[in-house]
Amino acid sequence: MSLEFLLAAALISSTPLAYAALGELVIERAGIVNLGVEGTMLIGAVAGFIGAQITGSAWAGVLAALVCGALFGGAFAMLTITARLDQVVAGLAFTVLGRGLSSYIGAGFVGVPPRAVIHKLNLGVLGHVPVLGPVIFGQDPLVLGAILLPVLLSLYLRFTRMGLVLMALGETPEVVDSLGIPVILLRYAYVISGSALMGVGGAYLSLAYIPSWIENITAGRGWIAIALVIFGTWRPLWVFGGAVLFGLVDAVRFRVQLDNYPVDPHFLNMLPYLATLLVLALVARSRAHGRLGGPAALGAAYDRERR
């Protein structure tokens, strides 16, 4: 197995994680914890697959996943932002809901061969560039999107006024509110768009990675996405880096299984969680000094007249 092949496989494995983790990052930056990533991804995966089955177009499927992820996120936003339900409980409820709903809706599609899948791009000359050609330019558009997204997000956070507002939203919503910027509206917007990204991450599984619908297709990737946000200390490029790292582990794992390597794959699968625990410990220790911690107002519903 060549290095190029390994890197390409790593990028493919990291794509669903990257979409979901960056979606969660946007939401957490806005001050909301959404533990329902797994459920939202499943909704996206099933919506994407069914959308593609009905229309015969994989991209219509991706659009369906985007819209359904957004709708699911909108419901979550209503419960946590407007009704101010506890975010942890609501997130877990949405994990259960997404799992149940996707299994229920997708029950008739299990094992059905896909009518349309997402194909790899053919960029002609670019595909023949050494290393970059097969690793990047030979991928499908969603993989390229996953590479582009963290860059755009990073620029957005660092160099635009709206990005500044987003960071303030998670740090000190009361400041944002006192400046006359609509806290509630923006939090809705970010929860919905972040959930839409999770939906796309799910659709990548059912339309490109697997590609078909099986129950619980995400197999814990939603939880890894949450872990990645912490692992990347709430910074888009770091989160993406983490996703690629775990994608690489995933790619190596296949190799291990093939070659009967001495490390059991179960232990490799534990790595994301163990690494996150390590980062949690390091971040917690350094929080007083460094700036590695999460948004300060994370997890708290905003209530203007609470005193």
Partner: protein
């Protein structure tokens, strides 16, 4: 359209209720162009509430607000900002993890793409015009309080062309010199035609800077007029109403044995910075000692260290001690969350700190708990039920319950941090009397107070604290008020 004589801002019969208390009762205030209007009154008189209504942070229950003759939509910070109203809150509304310039970009539309390299001509011009002196590229959390305040004022002036700047207790975090600088800047701001509303409870600075004064008491406006129309004495009477200064009387002093002794105590604040530096003091049985000072000079941290909820950085404290819990009464400045668990019942809170001694064992019998609760409630006539969650109580009743609990066993030492802060007149007087009575009966009492009048009316000795040190000691029968005032603000006596 602006009509002749129409003030910049007019509040008309605003009312706002929080739970049981009417924070604003038909409040009407008008602010003319280019003037400094001082809104004065005691803590809890409703000054900040009225201004929060104007800033759109609270929704009024009734009443209207006019800006330049036009009705302002209530309860909308956005509309208030657009109408040119900027407020600098007592607790600064800044994002600590961002630089000063980013905080400005957040509030002021300087284009959608951030330019961190340079400030805009508008900022530079305003910095010069008003005379600001701080670095915009420093993170807020690294700024001094004075710099943060300047940043807030600068930001308020920049956003949407603020015409009215509201400052809530701006000098509470400033030194005397910094206050003088602030007043100089306020003059320059009004010279540009803008108006300023200054919320304060310090009369002297009000007379120094304000053109007009509005006095509030218990949620109502009791006086409004030009500053020349009232004397300092009259102003004081308007603020406190019919209450007399110095109703209390210090306990008759008999020299007793020392009960509390601090030796070279050093304590850090929540940020890990030194708050108390090298404090030594002694409180004897039968005497009441007050610690005076501008708040934020380490009094709270010192009291918490004595109370045993803040670690010492150095030095030692000798105090009555018992196994596993305090052997004396400690009344912290913030009750809910520190002396009381807000969501637990009064009965449960009544045994806090007593639950490991007789008659309690591993099982807390309800009968015993209830008898403690009854005692704590009845001792100072708190209006409360034993099964009620403690957070539902008013400030005065909270303080009565704590005192009822802490003084239950007539302790030999009482340490109280701002025991009358935010209380109504009757409750404050009752609590002062309780402290004096206990000292007269032989207890050693240490009180931190921000009201000099209070300190003089109840204490035998007054220690002045400034920047974490005791800078002066006075006997209450030798008032050298001018000197103490200077000590409190500068740390240096004349």
């Amino acid at each position: 359209m602006m009509t002749a004589g129409e003030p910049l801002v007019r509040l008309e019969r605003l009312s706002k209720r929080f739970g049981q208390s009417l924070a604003n009762d038909q409040v009407s205030i008008s602010v003319p162009h280019g003037k400094v209007v001082a809104v004065v009154g005691e803590n809890g008189a409703g000054k900040t509430t009225a201004m929060n209504l104007l800033a759109g942070l609270y929704m009024p229950d009734s009443g209207r607000i006019y800006v330049r003759g036009e009705l302002l939509r209530p309860g909308s910070p956005r509309d208030s900002v657009r109408a040119g109203i900027g407020m600098v809150h007592q607790h600064f509304k800044l994002v600590d993890t961002m630089t000063g310039l980013d905080n400005i970009s957040l509030a002021v539309d300087r284009g959608q793409i951030l330019r961190r390299r340079r400030t805009s001509p508008a900022i530079d011009a305003l910095m010069r015009e008003v005379g600001f002196s701080f670095d915009l590229d420093v993170y807020v959390w690294q700024m001094t309080l004075a710099a943060r305040q300047q940043l807030e004022i600068l930001r308020a002036l920049l956003s949407a062309g603020t015409h009215l700047l509201i400052l809530d207790e701006p000098t509470s975090v400033l030194s005397a010199l910094e206050s003088a600088e602030l007043f100089g800047r306020l003059r320059r701001i009004t010279a540009t035609g803008r108006s300023v509303v200054l919320i304060s409870h310090k009369l002297k600075e009000v007379l120094e800077i304000a053109d007009e004064v509005v006095v509030m008491r218990a949620g109502r406006v009791v006086h409004a007029g030009p500053i020349g129309s009232v004397t300092l004495f009259e102003l004081g009477r308007l603020i406190v109403g019919d209450r007399l200064f110095g109703t209390g009387r210090p306990p008759p002093q008999r020299p007793g044995r020392p009960v509390l002794r601090l030796d070279h105590v050093r304590v850090a604040n929540d940020l890990g910075l030194p708050a108390v530096e090298d404090v030594s003091l002694e409180v004897r049985a039968g005497e009441l000692v007050a610690i005076a000072g501008v708040s934020g000079n380490g009094q709270t941290e010192l009291m918490e260290a004595i109370g045993g909820i803040r670690e010492l950085r150095g030095g030692s404290i000798a105090k009555p001690h018992q196994q596993r819990h305090r052997g004396f009464a400690y009344i912290p400045s913030q009750h809910l969350g520190t002396a009381l668990a807000p969501n637990l019942s009064i009965a449960e809170n009544a045994i806090l700190g007593r639950h490991r001694s007789n008659p309690f064992r591993w099982w807390l019998r309800r009968r015993d708990v209830d008898s403690f609760a009854r005692a704590a409630i009845e001792r100072f006539d708190a209006k409360a039920q034993a099964r009620q969650p403690v957070r539902q109580l008013s400030g005065g009743n909270l303080q009565r319950v704590i005192l009822g609990r802490e003084l239950a066993e007539d302790p030999e030492l009482i340490v109280a941090s701002y025991p009358t802060r935010g209380l109504d007149v009757a409750s404050a007087a009752q609590i002062r009397n309780v402290l004096v009575d206990h000292a007269a009966a032989g207890a050693a009492v240490l009180v931190a107070s921000e009201e000099l009048e209070e300190s003089f009316s109840i204490a035998n000795r007054i220690l002045v604290m400034h920047r974490g040190r005791i800078v002066g000691e006075y006997r209450s029968d030798s008032p050298e008020l001018a000197n103490i005032g200077r000590l409190m603000t500068t740390g240096v006596a004349s």
